[in-house]
Symmetry: C2
Subunit: 175 residues, 2 copies
């Protein structure tokens, strides 16, 4: 009963349709081709396959919409993408464009149990930060070489005087 896994490529098509559907009523081949930077004729083939798998409503020259099943699968893909992008960009402080690009590839290989670990990990970091450690900011300082081990050990251990220096100027000017 469990549908067999989609290829990375088909996941990309489905995800693209999902986002285009959110902006317009329905997707058209042109939009998909543009978004994925592939030839129009490549789209046709992918649409046929997705249609066969019951993930989209499609017939030649027709508008393209997701089926209920397709929308669920697409949502899952989009969630993976978003979780990974968020981790890369806001925890590892990878520059936005690179984070986006990397998440795009990771989303096809990180699933299920591993993805949920990422989710919990991000949650945890956010709670930790709320707890007062300014933890992520400290990391951003760390790799950007503004790190003073003694000072930050204290910071991480919760001493008030130094904590501030780890929390200000956070978003990482890594140049």
């Amino acid at each position: 009963m469990m549908a067999e896994a989609l290829s990375g490529s088909l996941e990309d098509y489905l995800e693209a349709i999902f986002f285009i559907e959110q902006q317009k009523q329905a997707a058209r081949a042109k939009d998909i081709a543009q978004r994925l930077q592939v030839n129009h004729s490549s789209v046709t083939g992918a649409l046929r396959t997705l249609s066969q798998k019951g993930l989209i409503n499609y017939s030649p020259y027709d508008l393209i919409t997701l089926t209920t099943k397709g929308r669920n699968v697409a949502k899952d893909i989009a969630r993976r993408h978003e979780v990974l992008r968020h981790f890369l960009e806001d925890v590892l402080d990878v520059p936005p464009e690179l984070a986006e690009e990397t998440a795009c590839k990771m989303e096809h290989v990180v699933r299920g149990e591993v993805l949920e670990r990422f989710v919990k990990f991000i949650e945890f970091i956010e709670v930790s930060s709320r707890a007062g450690a300014g933890w992520v900011q400290c990391f951003h300082k760390y790799y950007s070489r503004e790190w003073d081990e003694e000072e930050c050990k204290k910071c991480l251990a919760g001493e008030k005087g130094v904590k501030k220096s780890c929390q200000e100027g956070s978003t990482g000017d890594h140049g």
Copy 2:
């Protein structure tokens, strides 16, 4: 001069040869096929390609060794693999086999700048832990639902009394 990127598949072959070379003097097609779970005839094709690219010493029926260039590339792949495996297994606490399997796929999409962020991030976590927070252990508690937000906020903020409870029984019995 910069060699064009290898496909994920070819990276797998190169990495396999690297590990087999460490165990024996040289690799043979049989070993590679077994390690990668592919047919012998698939190996032949990959060897030809890697040879053409100057990454391995190879001629039909001969033993297989890495060239200097090939060894450098292979080391880089192996490093990516190891960094990611380490992160998944020891930070996210993903079960070893799944961590291994996932790292195997991630290694082909996480490179350069992003990989170095992972490296720094792991370093940072280790320093943080040394600083006394038992940070990773706290995370393992967190997702395994033994988490008490109030208690652990204090823990992360460095209060001595509660810190201990976050640090004991660490390695995550997440069942």
